[in-house]
Amino acid sequence: MATNEKNSNGASKDFIIETLKKQIQDFKAETATEKVGRVVEVGDGIARISGLSDAMASEMLEFEVGGEKKSSVFGVALNLEEDQVGAMILGEYENIKEGDTVKSTGKILSIPVSDGVLGRVVNPLGMPVDGKGEILSASGGLVDTYYPIEKIAPGVITRESVNQPLQTGIKAIDSMIPIGRGQRELIIGDRQTGKTAVAIDAIINQKGQDVICIYVAIGQKESKIARIVAELEKKGAMEYTIVVIAGASDPAALSFVSPYAGCAIGEYFMDQGKDVLVIYDDLSKHAWAYRQVSLLLRRPPGREAYPGDIFYLHSRLLERSAKMSKDFGGGSITALPIIETQAGDVSAYIPTNVISITDGQIYLESDLFYKGIRPALNVGLSVSRVGSAAQIKAMKKVAGKLRMDLAQFRELEAFAQFGSDLDEATRKQIERGRRTVEILKQDQYVPMAVENQVAIIYALTNGYLDDVEVEKIQDWEADFHKYMKEMKKDILTEIKEKKELTEEIEEKLKKAIEEFRDVYSNGNHK
């Protein structure tokens, strides 16, 4: 009965053997000439190779590592010179020796992409590093879709202007520096000002928004990455998030490749018509990695020893963020690149480059951070060039006044110390400003839904908080949200669905706020 034995797939043993036999029979071993090169020089993550006269720019090269265990390491051809090829090595270069053979693969550096990558932590070559096993495609098989890491950005015809908001859940940003889907908004600031915190909050807030998030860590401490992944998992955000990591101990070549890899994964989802949010944390380290690779390849150094094409390095990456038009799937990639400045110097080389590429910046300051204003957003220097087109009408209506209140407050702030000597209008303006600053403070990991933001900002700009003590503003706000959620849920839902503050809704909201105010002050007096 042996021939009738079935395995789990229902195929008999004979069938499998027959198929194998057929496969072997049909196999034609064709011998063709192959171009090979020889390693002339190797070190510091780069190699110089003689031969390989047909290598393409940024083609994958296969280094055959000798020794007891034969294995191969991949590299990328970067410099194509007269009789040599300069390549960076993606992986362990310690075992590569002078004289080792190098084969060209005929493929541009690509990474495997699939739906299975969601919720995973991968390295810049698309290989999982989270110990959860191999990444499988949606159908459960091996991944056979590859996306090149370098791709020319979508053209003008395929694009559409930014018209849909991407809510970060941070009051200060969503109201005054709104971000739209397909926008590139730079997060810039010194170390320890909460740049990553803003980005992580934005990821957490995408829950249920049908946005796929990609967090690209470039040259980050692995402890920090582990902490972020743990936090995302805790908040249930890993379900729709992919983390691409090139840690501080990985070779510079991997750090250099990682943002492009993250972008390629993003493009895979964008091509399916999905919205993607990519965070590049951070591009200063990316520039450092590229500077290292370039200098080792003996490319001439320029300003601050960066190579001549450092601007193109970032512009070609960020240009790949796009909002596709309906005819081209309607997907989008929103980019939140992060730049770390040194001692607040935004006029350094890399910060100015990236500021000019992006559609606006969120500027975080350490002074504000130590004053306790968190997120430490400098509203005066932060701008969003295209996002306001995407802001929902309700928010637009309430936020205009907020911006003005804050600007006036900043002008008058210097006079605040004169206290009672000021005239009534000025004093009021300052008091309002203090409350505005208080309302815009927000803890980490607690993003707020846009309808709640509209409600609280409405209350603020219409003077309902003017008689609340500054120290009690945050408690007032917390209770207000609780009250709205429990008692007036219908108003919030209406704002969320209509996205507009019609007179009717406004009236209801006004009433609700007044009711709450009465309840609150009564409760406090008792």
Binding site: L20, Q23, I24, F27, A29, T31, A32, T33, E34, K35, V36, G37, R38, S50, G51, L52, S53, D83
Partner: protein
């Protein structure tokens, strides 16, 4: 500007190509003086290597390594040589035969940076690849 070993090798070739023996000798000794003057003596090995390559290129000489599992007959080697000559459009071919039991059978020809792998081992690897992927 820095003079590379390759440039020196090319110069040496020009100095000696189609020259009478006495003239060539004179030129070579002058060339040697120049190399010493420019403190390039330690690059002599590279110069000679480059000279060999350049000489072969100019004269249509191709060097080929033939790797086989066992020692092969002179006639077979010649056949392989003729094939390489036809393919590379060389005028003259220098063949070197190496024995490597590891390739199991067949042969591998290496010409410059090209490899023509017709070994049993290569075919087995291709078969393995075809079945497993």
């Amino acid at each position: 500007m820095r003079i590379t070993a390759r440039q020196l090798a090319e110069t040496l070739f020009e100095l000696t190509d189609r020259k009478s023996e006495s003239e060539a000798k004179k030129n070579i000794s002058q060339f040697a003086d120049f190399v010493v003057k420019k403190k390039k003596l330690k690059e002599l090995g590279k110069i000679i290597e480059n000279f060999g390559k350049y000489y072969n290129l100019k004269n249509g000489v191709v060097e080929a390594d033939v790797i086989t599992a066992e020692k092969i007959e002179a006639k077979t080697l010649k056949n392989i040589g003729d094939y390489v000559k036809r393919n590379s459009k060389a005028e003259k071919i220098i063949l070197r035969n190496e024995i490597d039991k590891g390739i199991k059978g067949g042969f591998i020809v290496k010409v410059n940076d090209e490899i023509w792998n017709a070994s049993i081992k290569g075919k087995l690897e291709a078969l393995k690849k075809a079945i497993t992927t």
